[in-house]
Symmetry: C2
Subunit: 272 residues, 2 copies
């Protein structure tokens, strides 16, 4: 069973998540568009990882150990640290490393807090644009410099009117998975690629109606779930289950759009 | 014959181009992520145009008429105004309207000055990130707030190491055009979609090696040509001709990458 937190406790944790993401952003920013720091962990499979990634995760880990030493930590770069409490921080220092390497803007620092059952706090920070998106069950907000505004998904009825985003049409495995995505892409009004975490933030902000992706890691999605849910949206797997394990994920602003999209996706004979 | 301008005259014109783009940016920014101002010119074919687009073009036109009343103007929204001199300003108030509508960041104001033969001055401005990229034959620069830096393409030798960008894999017509793009996409190291004008700016800045697109309008590309050329890159059609008419365009940082990409693209039996 997951522990019950009151509103004040949750507020404190989400502000801490923002702080972590912003501290990481400060470590990352000097490396953005700095061509010398690009590194490559797995040359064979091209999984680009930068010095920024590692520095940022270290900053976040140090700060968690200082403030919540009993919490667990799972990060993309340095693996898992078990805590003595059920709480675990899930970190993706740079979600969208490919965009980052290409000098583009749709990437961000992701920080989630999982209570042992599900992500209850999420923060996404883009240090170059100075934006932070964050949420809990009590709501979601965006702040930029001195400005702050509530995040609220868009409610629309017909999937034919939806704006759909996915990071790359090639992220779907050839065969039924790609066919399912293509059917959905052919149904909506507009498609945009190249979004990574930023597309989910824009879904929470009411500008995108659907994000449909595959092959996600848990740390790619956990921070985004409380932001989208806090903004009134819904995030599940392609068959309507828990999205926090990653894999095939669908996020929608309106539950009617979510239902219509699941209907289209389930026509493909996908194994779990 | 196109008129000869000295360095000082060109400098004055490129700073004016930046001013136009930044004035337009000020008109556009209040509409960004403002859900009420989205409009639709052609509901059947979904060509989204916003109030921002029109206001921005009007601001630019007024300023050109005030300072260079004898220059011509070609804009996406309000068509062409002939000038009594060979100079024509080419305006795309928001290049990347779909990204704009989706709340994403890869869009910008494009302003080019064509001397009757070719674009000699180009500026691209993203008002949300406060960046301006600009160039002439004498060089290219980027400025953001109080910072300024020269733009310089990346020189790499092998196309297998290149980062390729295109706005949407679906922008290529089914058949030989799409096949040609796919062959190229399969050859490079990494692909990123969803860039619009911003991808060309990142090519000029040395983070992307190739941008390959189709179905461009002249005002989509003219501003970007002097920026890329000023940064040491090359922009042509898919058969190596003049890119300033739009259509199928290829931009590369290194001429060896450009040549290798043309070689792959020309295997497809494309008409003109």
């Amino acid at each position: 069973m997951s522990p019950q937190l009151d509103r004040a406790a949750l507020e404190e944790l989400v502000l801490f998540a923002c702080r972590l993401a912003e501290l990481a952003g400060r470590a990352i920013l000097p490396h953005f568009r700095n061509l010398e720091s690009i590194d490559n962990k797995q040359p064979a499979d091209f999984d680009p990882v930068t010095a920024a990634d590692r520095e940022a995760e270290r900053v976040i880990r140090d700060e968690i150990l200082r403030v919540y030493p009993r919490h667990g930590i799972v990060g993309e770069e340095f693996g898992s640290t078990r805590g003595s409490e059920p709480f675990t921080w899930m970190i993706d220092p740079i979600d969208g490393t490919r965009a980052f390497i290409a000098g583009l803007l749709h990437w961000g620092v992701l920080v989630a807090l999982n209570d042992g059952a599900r992500p209850i706090v999420g923060a996404m920070h883009q240090p170059y644009t100075r934006e932070t998106f964050f949420g809990t069950r009590d709501g979601a907000q965006m702040r930029r410099e001195s400005q702050s505004m509530p995040l609220q998904v868009r409610k629309i009825e017909r999937i034919q009117d939806a704006i759909l985003s996915a990071t790359d049409p090639a992220m779907f495995a050839n065969g039924p998975e790609r066919d399912a995505f293509r059917s959905l892409a052919a149904t909506v009004k507009m498609r945009r690629y190249g979004g990574d975490c930023y597309a989910y933030a824009m879904l929470a902000a009411g500008h995108i109606d659907l994000v449909v992706e595959a092959s996600l890691n848990p740390y790619d999605i956990q921070a985004l779930i409380p932001i989208i849910e806090g903004a009134g949206g819904i995030v599940t797997s392609w068959v309507g289950g828990d999205a926090s394990h990653g894999g095939r994920v669908i996020a929608a602003g309106d539950e009617r759009i979510h239902a219509a999209a699941l209907e289209i996706l389930k026509r493909a004979p996908l194994d779990s």
